[in-house]
Subunit: 526 residues, 2 copies
């Protein structure tokens, strides 16, 4: 059994706290900088590479971080996790999302079943269902093919699947595997469901209701919204809806759905993109083969994450450097900056993944910790962000570590040559330029035009954003967040911080309020 | 002439630094909390109200902040700005975006013309053009009506107009003034333009090329992309494109465009939503009357911003409290959380507006400042965010002040009653609940379920997100950022921090690199 200690109880904590800091501007300049870029790179799955040359570390700091990895028993903890220990201490649950895409260790048996077999069975059921929909064997009541799939879910049932759909939509169109358009309804704001319903042909739409518990208020509300719309169109809702839920939920055996596919309590919402939660909508949109390739990429990157040497394990290294920046360099936020329009909602997914997992103040035993934990995550795709918030990143008073992502090739492949270069070349030139501009800066006598540099970043570089590459990218960040949770000794897999708002909202709706809450409710007419 | 002093030279700085802090949890509890919510509210234009009861201030702090407003001469500085002083010291320019929607002081004459008349003239020209497009008097070469408008621009030419379009799309559909669908191409990633072009009928599309200088590389590249697509479809690009630019730009008098509408150097990109930059696309999409109503809302809120008493000036008060949180309560970030799906991209616009304006380290005279300036801005619509990053906001180690926005009514008006309440009621109940949950917390013996509270927020509440309300909301934040820039003594209207990246990217494309930049370029195949 691994030892779960608070970060500041470890010898490495003191060593890192007192260690010398790296002058990033200096080490990234000249021939030494070029050498760093060649050397400071960790290969990942699907042809990706994690290049950390522009993070504020050197061989000495890396040595200390490797000691931290060992002292914090990161590999042992990951092994316990994927072999079925109760890592989610708050809710007393196993944490098994890795089993959705592969198996790294011994069999995990829970609730009397082999969990890898269970998740695989759900994928196979989804694949068979999706293939029948595509083949016109499962149709609407009029025998017509479904053309649109609409996911109804919120949080982890929305952000991840939606980001993955957007990431692969153009790739799928180009490669002839685009089967159905997908839409997403998430917000309890009635305008969300209304606008989506206005934009689709409900008679040819199939809806995926996603709620693990079957009790998520937003999702059940939006389900009713959709059922009303179907009935108003003279359609039978049960011919247009499938459910993704747990076997014990009220939705599991209901006649209201064409089919039900299962996840379980061992898959957290924000870790559910590779489970049936992502599987149903992505398999319907792009075909089961594309979803399988996405899982393969994630599984391959999980295998890298099982390496104990951080220099062979990009997720672990990224986690270690991130903790170093957060706890010892004083950085409160991290920006995610994909140079790929297809990843436009990937930062929003990572925002949930990271902030909901590690935005905690107590350790896994429920005791307060005296060090800072998860950072604020935000980001937008480049080059858009360059014309927006990069001003603060370059010249503001706050240093924000940056996580770039870039690909050598575009997904669609159309391009134009303007002023001697293609758009894709301009895109790649910009991300290369930004890394160096942030790290090295540029002196100017006019301080308004001065760039002090020393602003750290790393980049994950790939050939093209394929399903495999996307799976690897997702697994990288999932595993990074997990390793950071291990270091901070927090439970990255519960989310008690979302509960109080739910309780108070119910009280407002029941008109059982007093004090400030009563006045706010009145001001908002509820 | 106003006196421009560094913030830390003011007597109020010391007073605020040394003043007593407010125990937000305490003051927001019980009957006192209810009183605060009733009292701490500033009326805004278009029926909005800025309620700051849950920010960490009391009458004493408000008194000090009012002194700061006076000492920093905020009203005088705003007056100088709207009467045409060279407030943008870096670029030696006037700052005149307020004149796009009204005139608060004496006439501003620059470049030999009355600038209010100039901006109004452009609006009128746009209105006439848009009306002819809607009436089928301006058509494609085949004499067919245009059905789609596509904005080509980046940064301020994209984020603001796009956010405003999304904000009003459903309102316009419901009120019978939806004229044309709008799309946006911004990123130099070729997949952005390709995907938009795949999604439209180019033969019936009119493109708005937006570049003040007429030299923005991304925008010119995407223009070529679009022209190629038009030519490939056998169409004449000059029959499908209009330009929004400055009169001195190469685009101004070109035969390549059906028409050109003008902005000038006194309108910063991020402040350009109410200029021709927003005017062309929004007037085409919704009709000139809707755009005029949007401007009216902004103008009315500008008039409020000219009030010298912060308790009658929501933007000034919001600015003062924000500075207090940033410089004395140690908050590095602020989250923007609209409980309205229509405002889904409003936070991205504010992220640019704020971070590009005040993400500075030197004052307006080019001297380094010793205090922190603009915060990190991020956000997503509620209730979506509740199922995502709110965990960190409630229970993380970092306190993030929150800016909520909520409306009593939805835009589309469709709704369902589930478990005794409508979706709109649930939405409003949630935002009310969140404010109180953040401020008051809830004690629990299990620290994992404990909410310490004391997390500040304010809310702007309105009846419905109409064009007027949107204009007022936009002006509020523009003016807030402006006042904060005055307090920090920075130039909020230049953006030298974006230059270095451009220079280095050009070098990469010209293959004139060495050191780290050469290796990154190689890794990215450029």
């Amino acid at each position: 059994m691994a030892n779960w200690k608070n970060f500041d109880e470890l010898a490495s904590y003191k060593a890192l706290e007192n260690g010398a800091r790296v002058d990033l501007k200096e080490v990234m300049s000249g021939a030494g900088g070029a050498e760093r870029v060649k050397k400071y790179s960790v290969p990942m799955a699907a042809g990706l590479a994690f290049n950390f040359a522009a993070r504020a570390v050197d061989d000495t700091v890396l040595g200390e971080l490797a000691k931290l990895a060992e002292e914090a028993e990161l590999s042992e903890k990951f092994k316990e996790l994927y072999e079925g220990a109760v890592i989610n201490t708050g809710e007393k649950r196993l944490v098994l999302h890795h089993l959705c895409r592969g198996q790294l260790g011994q069999d995990v048996v829970a609730d009397g079943v082999n969990k890898r077999a269970f998740y695989k069975e759900q994928q196979d059921k989804i694949a068979a269902f999706a293939s029948k929909v595509h083949a016109g064997e499962i149709t609407n009541a009029a025998g017509e093919k479904f053309t649109t799939v609409v996911q109804i879910g919120i949080g982890g049932s929305d952000l991840g699947p939606r980001a993955m759909y957007i990431a692969l939509e153009n790739w799928a169109r180009r490669h002839g595997c685009f089967k159905m358009e997908a839409k997403f309804i998430s917000n309890v704001d009635p305008d969300d469901a209304s606008a989506v319903l206005q934009s689709i042909d409900v008679a040819h739409s199939i809806f995926v209701l996603v709620s693990k518990s079957g009790t998520t208020l937003e999702t059940l509300t939006n389900e009713s919204f959709v059922k009303n719309a179907l009935k108003n169109a003279g359609l039978d809702p049960s011919r247009h809806m499938i459910a993704v839920t747990s076997e014990t939920s009220p939705l599991a055996k209901s006649d209201d759905y064409l089919a039900a596919f299962f996840m379980d309590d061992y898959i957290g919402g924000r870790y559910s993109s590779t489970s049936a939660v992502g599987g149903a909508v992505l398999s319907l949109a792009f075909g089961p083969e594309v979803f399988a390739a996405f899982l393969d990429g994630a599984a391959a990157e999980d295998r890298n994450a099982a390496e104990s040497d951080p220099l062979k394990n990009a997720a672990m290294l990224d986690a270690l450097i991130g903790v170093y920046e957060r706890n010892f360099l004083g950085c409160e936020a991290t920006a995610v900056l994909p140079y790929s329009q297809a990843l436009s909602r990937f930062p929003a997914h990572l925002q949930q993944l990271d902030m909901e997992s590690n935005g905690k103040s107590v350790n896994r035993f429920g005791e307060p910790v005296d060090y800072v934990t998860g950072p604020i995550i935000f980001g937008e795709p480049g080059t858009n962000g360059q014309h927006s918030f990069y001003q603060l990143l370059h010249q503001g008073k706050t240093i924000v570590p940056l996580q770039f992502v870039g690909f050598r090739k575009s997904q669609i492949g159309n391009d134009v040559d303007i002023q001697g270069s293609t758009s894709q070349e301009k895109l790649c030139a910009n991300v290369a330029a930004q890394i160096v501009a942030f790290a090295c800066g540029k002196e100017d006598e006019n301080l308004n035009k001065n760039f002090e540099g020393g602003r750290p970043s790393s980049i994950i570089i790939g050939e093209e954003l394929t399903p495999e590459a996307l799976g690897a990218l997702l697994a990288h960040f999932e595993n990074k967040v997990m390793f950071q949770g291990f270091i901070w000794n927090v439970n990255s897999f519960d989310q008690e911080g979302v509960q109080l708002g739910k309780v108070l909202a119910k009280r407002v709706l029941a008109h059982e309020t007093d004090g400030a809450l009563a006045v706010y409710s009145e001001l908002l007419n509820v």
